[in-house]
Amino acid sequence: MKRMPFIASCLLVSASSLTIADISTQRQTELIYLLKQDCGSCHGMTLKGGLGPALLPESLNGKPTELLVTTILEGRTGTAMPPWKAMLTQDEAEWITVQLQQGVK
């Protein structure tokens, strides 16, 4: 990871008082794969949106980190967004949120 995104992620995390637990490199790869392939079914593989909204940094700008984490884990009632807590831990949802806020390559 390059220095700038790392600093940015530290800032984001401290700002929202979340801590990122250690997620193994292998699990990180799995999570990015899940994000692109499976979240991508609705949000588009490039996260530009589809049936679900875009998940690009500019579209998430201004949305509180904790709201995003809760949305991933609990889903959104009345929409097609399912709760992912059966497949993701709190730490993993937080890590994914930070990746989304920074922009996933």
């Binding site: 593989m45 589809g50 097609a80």
Partner: protein, 387 residues
């Protein structure tokens, strides 16, 4: 002069040796690389790859009636006409910001695309890809635009589609070349997620995500309006998360029964099409995505949403029992039967390969490398209403 004749003869010879039909061909979407692979089902082999189709993370295709051109609908709003015989892109337009699927008209002259952004349907000349009609999916007092799903072709040169946000079904009659004549059916139910037309072209059925049941429209009697079916299939039961939106297509009909995925339940629902009542519920491995009848209607093959997407299950349509569970590998996204049903192709995304199964013995008969494969579309679709 002699030399010219020689060259002409040579040219004729070359083109003659390359002449072939397209009835045993098809394409496979390679979703991550924006390419399609052309496959051939007589020897179960790959013919080659065509690149440059843009974002295919969600993509589908229909065929020209001569079986030569595939129209590929990409996520980025790209509409690409691919010549599968000469293996090249013939024409390509970006027609919207974000699209979901398409259809080709009964007469083969029009290609329609359903769009999420901006929500609506655009209709193009199948030969030139020039815009013929633009139908914005405007609804409500504030004139919002709805995402459009479940677009199919129907007899009478019609296109039928559903509005996800508005809960409406629209019928666009394109039989007159001037303006499309549009008939709207409102309050059909919350969030239709996809739809099918029966193979005879008579019934259009939209599945509802926002509530239990499905919306049925008899195209032979539009004045009767939309009727709700399967209204109470899961009443009072806790819904399970839906990690991938299921798909509906006309192949779910086997004999008098229709087989459709339940939403939020790990079940396949059986509908008696003579009275449109529920005739059974079959417990399956996970959230069904594609529920497809083998062309002879003897079996139903089902794949599943993540985390159950390493599995295929086969249902016997007489006993309604699961007769086989296969584990082809992680990320089984799509299946396609060969036209007479002796073999079925499956995309195994996470293993970057296609698997071909014998549908009687359930043995894998071949596997072919493919880059993150998703949809598989064979040319027999050119001659099927709704495919």
């Amino acid at each position: 002069m002699h030399r010219l004749c020689f060259f002409l003869a040579l040219l004729l010879l070359i083109s003659e040796s390359h002449a072939r039909g397209s009835g045993d061909l098809g394409i496979v979407i390679e979703r991550a690389s924006g390419s399609v692979q052309v496959i051939e089902t007589s020897t179960n082999s790959s013919i080659g790859r065509i690149d440059g189709l843009g974002d295919l993370s969600h993509a589908s295709a229909v065929y020209s009636r001569d079986g030569r051109y595939a129209y590929v609908f990409g996520r980025d709003g790209g509409l690409t006409r691919v010549d599968i015989l000469s293996m090249k892109i013939d024409k390509r337009v970006i027609q919207s910001g974000n699209s979901i699927g398409g259809a080709i008209s009964q007469d083969g002259r029009l290609v329609a695309v359903s769009n999420y952004e901006p929500g609506g349907v655009k209709i193009f000349d199948a030969e030139t890809l020039e815009l013929v009609a633009d139908i914005p999916a405007v609804y409500g007092k504030d004139e919002q635009r709805s995402k459009v799903i479940g677009l199919v072709d129907a007899p009478g040169n019609k296109f039928i589609f559903s509005l996800w946000d508005a809960g409406e079904i629209w019928v666009a009659d394109m039989s007159s070349t001037a303006e499309p004549a549009i008939r709207k059916f409102k309050d059909i139910g919350r969030n239709p997620y996809d739809a099918l037309i029966t193979p005879d072209g008579r019934y259009y059925i939209a599945g509802l995500f926002g509530e239990d049941g499905m919306a049925l429209l008899d195209l032979w009697d539009l004045d009767a309006g939309v009727k709700r079916i399967l209204n109470n299939y899961g009443k009072g039961e806790q819904k399970l998360p839906v990690y991938k939106m299921p798909h509906l297509e006309g192949w779910a009909i086997a004999g008098k029964f229709a087989f459709v995925p339940a939403i939020g339940r790990h079940e396949v629902l059986v509908i008696d099409t003579t009275n449109w009542k529920q005739a059974g519920r079959i417990k399956v491995h996970g959230q069904p995505v594609f529920v497809m009848a083998r062309p002879d209607g003897r079996n139903i093959w089902v794949n599943f949403a993540v985390p159950g997407n390493d599995t295929l299950q086969v249902i016997d349509t007489r006993s309604l029992d699961i007769v086989k569970t296969l584990k082809p590998g992680k990320g089984v996204l799509h299946m396609e039967f060969e036209p007479r049903g002796e073999e079925v192709w499956a995309s195994v995304r996470d293993e970057d390969r296609l698997a071909v199964f014998d549908t009687e013995t359930f043995q894998q008969v071949n596997t072919i490398a493919a880059k993150k494969p998703s949809g598989i579309f064979l040319t027999y679709r050119a001659h099927r209403t709704g495919l």
